[in-house]
C-alpha cells in the first residue's frame, strides 16, 4: 500500500513500453493492416470491373459472330455467282470454239474439195491428154487439135 521508489521504476518501465510500442509495434501493424484493406478494396473493384468487361466482351463477341456470319454468307453468295459466271463463260467459250473449229474444218474441207477438184482436173486433163495423145498420135498431130481440146476442158470446168 505504501508508495515508494517502485513508482519511479514503473514510470520508467511504462515510458519504455510506450516508446517501444510507438516505434516498433504500432506503425508496422497498422501499415500492414491498412495495406491489406487497400488490397482487398482494389481486388473487389477489379473483380467488379472484370465482370463488367466480361459482359461487354460477350456482347462484342456476339456482334462479331453475327457480322462474321453475314460476311461468310456474302462470300458464299459471291462465290456461287462467280462460279456460275465462270461456268457460263466456259460454256460460251466452248460454244465459240466449237463453232470456230467446225467453221475452220468446213473451210478446210471446202479447200480440200477445191484442191481435189483441181488435181483431179489436172490429172484428168493429163490423162485425157495422154489418152488423146495416144489416140491422136496415131491419127493426127496434137498441135492441130489442141484448141478443140482446151475448149472442151473449159466446158468441163464449168
Amino acid at each position: 500500500m505504501n508508495i515508494n521508489a517502485t513508482l519511479l521504476g514503473q514510470m520508467i518501465a511504462f515510458g519504455l513500453f510506450v516508446w517501444f510500442c510507438w516505434k516498433f509495434v504500432w506503425p508496422p501493424l497498422l501499415a500492414a493492416m491498412e495495406e491489406r484493406a487497400a488490397k482487398i478494396e482494389q481486388g473487389l473493384k477489379d473483380s467488379e470491373d472484370s465482370a463488367k468487361k466480361i459482359v461487354e466482351a460477350e456482347a462484342e463477341s456476339k456482334k462479331m459472330i453475327t457480322k462474321a456470319k453475314s460476311e461468310a454468307k456474302k462470300v458464299l453468295d459471291n462465290a456461287k455467282s462467280q462460279a456460275e459466271k465462270i461456268v457460263d463463260d466456259a460454256k460460251n467459250k466452248a460454244n465459240e470454239e466449237k463453232d470456230r473449229i467446225v467453221g475452220s474444218a468446213q473451210s478446210e474441207i471446202e479447200k480440200e474439195v477445191v484442191n481435189a477438184k483441181k488435181s483431179l482436173e489436172k490429172d484428168f486433163a493429163t490423162n485425157v491428154m495422154a489418152a488423146a495423145k495416144k489416140i491422136i498420135s496415131k491419127e493426127i498431130s496434137s498441135s492441130n487439135h489442141e484448141e478443140t481440146i482446151n475448149k472442151s476442158l473449159e466446158d468441163f470446168r464449168k
Partner: protein
C-alpha cells in the same frame, strides 16, 4: 494454505497476502528479528528483502516492490514480444490465429482512438492506448490465478511475500496515472502554448473576474484526473483480490464434514467471483485506456473563450 504452518490466524493470512515483496535498505544498527525469535543487529547499511512489516516501514521511500516490478515487466515484455513478432511476421493473406487476435486488438484500439481523439494529430496516442490496454489487461488477468498458486511455492523457496497482481499495487497504477498526467501537461502546453495553458486554467469557468476561483476549480479538476485514474484501477483490483483472499482464507480444507462443506462452498464462491471478475478485469483495462485517450484529447483542445 500458506499460513497453516504456524498458529497464524485468518488475519495474518490476509495481511501476509496483501504485503508486497520489498527490497530496500535497512540502516546500520537496525535490530532484525529472525524467524526463530533471535535478534540480529545490523552493523552496516544493508540492502535486503523485508521480512516483516516493521522492516518495510524502516526502508522508507527508497525501496522497491520487487514482485510488482517483476510481474509487470514480465507481462509487458510478453505483450511487446508477441506484438513485435506479429508485426515482423505479418502475413497479408494467411494470418495465424494469434495474428488475427492481435489485429483485432489493434483494430479495436484504433477504433476507440479514432472515435475519441479527434483534435489534432498525434501518432503517440494510439500506441500508448494499445500499450495501456493490453498491459493493464494482462496484469489484471493475474488476478484470476488462484491466490496461493504462486505465492505458496515461492514461500517454500524462501521468498517471504509475493503479490502477483501488479495492478493491486498503488505504485503501479499511480505510475501509469502520473505518466499519463505528465503527458497531459506536456501536450496541453505544447498545443495551447504556455500562455494558452495558463489561460485555460484561469479564465474558466467563470470568466476573468473570478480568477482565483477559476484557478482553484481547474487545478482540482486537473489533479483529480491522475488521482481518479490511479485509484479506480487500484481500488477495483485490490478489492477483487481481497475478495479472493477472503474466500480462500475462509476455506480451510480439513477432513471433517464442516471442512468439506466449507471447502466446496468456498470453491463455488471463488469460481463465481472469478467469472464475475473477468468482467472487471477487462472493463478496468478498457476504462483506463479510454480515459487516457479522453485526457489526451482534452490536452489537444485549443483554448476557447466561453
Amino acid at each position: 494454505m500458506a499460513s497453516e504452518k504456524t498458529e497464524s490466524t485468518f488475519q495474518d493470512y490476509l495481511q501476509h497476502h496483501l504485503q508486497n515483496l520489498v527490497y530496500g535498505k535497512l540502516p546500520a544498527g537496525y535490530e532484525r528479528e529472525n524467524k526463530d525469535g533471535t535478534v540480529e543487529v545490523l552493523t552496516n547499511d544493508t540492502w535486503t528483502f523485508a521480512y516483516n512489516k516493521s522492516e518495510v516501514a524502516e526502508m522508507g521511500f527508497w525501496a522497491f516492490h520487487v514482485d510488482t516490478l517483476f510481474f509487470s515487466l514480465l507481462l509487458g515484455g510478453i505483450f511487446l514480444f508477441f506484438f513485435t513478432r506479429a508485426a515482423k511476421n505479418f502475413s497479408l493473406y494467411k494470418p495465424t490465429k494469434l495474428q488475427t487476435f492481435i489485429e483485432m486488438l489493434v483494430d479495436f484500439v484504433n477504433g476507440v482512438v479514432k472515435g475519441t481523439f479527434k483534435t489534432g494529430k498525434n501518432t503517440l496516442i494510439a500506441p500508448m492506448a494499445l500499450t495501456i490496454f493490453v498491459w493493464v489487461l494482462l496484469m489484471n488477468l493475474m488476478d484470476l490465478v488462484p491466490v496461493d498458486l504462486i505465492p505458496y511455492p515461492a514461500e517454500l523457496l524462501g521468498i517471504p511475500y509475493l503479490k502477483v497482481v501488479p495492478t493491486t499495487d498503488l505504485n503501479l497504477t499511480a505510475a501509469l496515472a502520473l505518466s499519463v498526467f505528465c503527458l497531459y501537461l506536456f501536450f496541453s502546453i505544447r498545443e495551447k502554448g504556455f500562455i494558452g495553458f495558463i489561460k485555460s486554467i484561469t479564465l474558466h469557468p467563470f470568466g476573468p473576474w473570478m480568477l482565483p476561483a477559476n484557478l482553484f476549480v481547474e487545478v482540482i479538476d486537473m489533479l483529480a484526473k491522475p488521482l481518479s485514474l490511479a485509484l479506480r484501477l487500484y481500488g477495483n483490483l485490490y478489492a477483487g483480490e481481497m475478495i479472493f483472499l477472503l474466500i480462500a482464507g475462509m476455506v480451510a480444507w480439513q477432513l471433517s464434514v464442516t471442512g468439506i462443506v466449507f471447502g466446496v462452498f468456498g470453491t463455488m464462491l471463488s469460481l463465481i467471483w472469478a467469472i464475475f471478475h473477468i468482467l472487471i478485469v477487462v472493463l478496468q483495462a478498457f476504462i483506463f485506456m479510454m480515459l487516457t485517450v479522453v485526457y489526451m484529447n482534452m490536452a489537444h483542445e485549443k483554448f476557447e473563450q466561453h
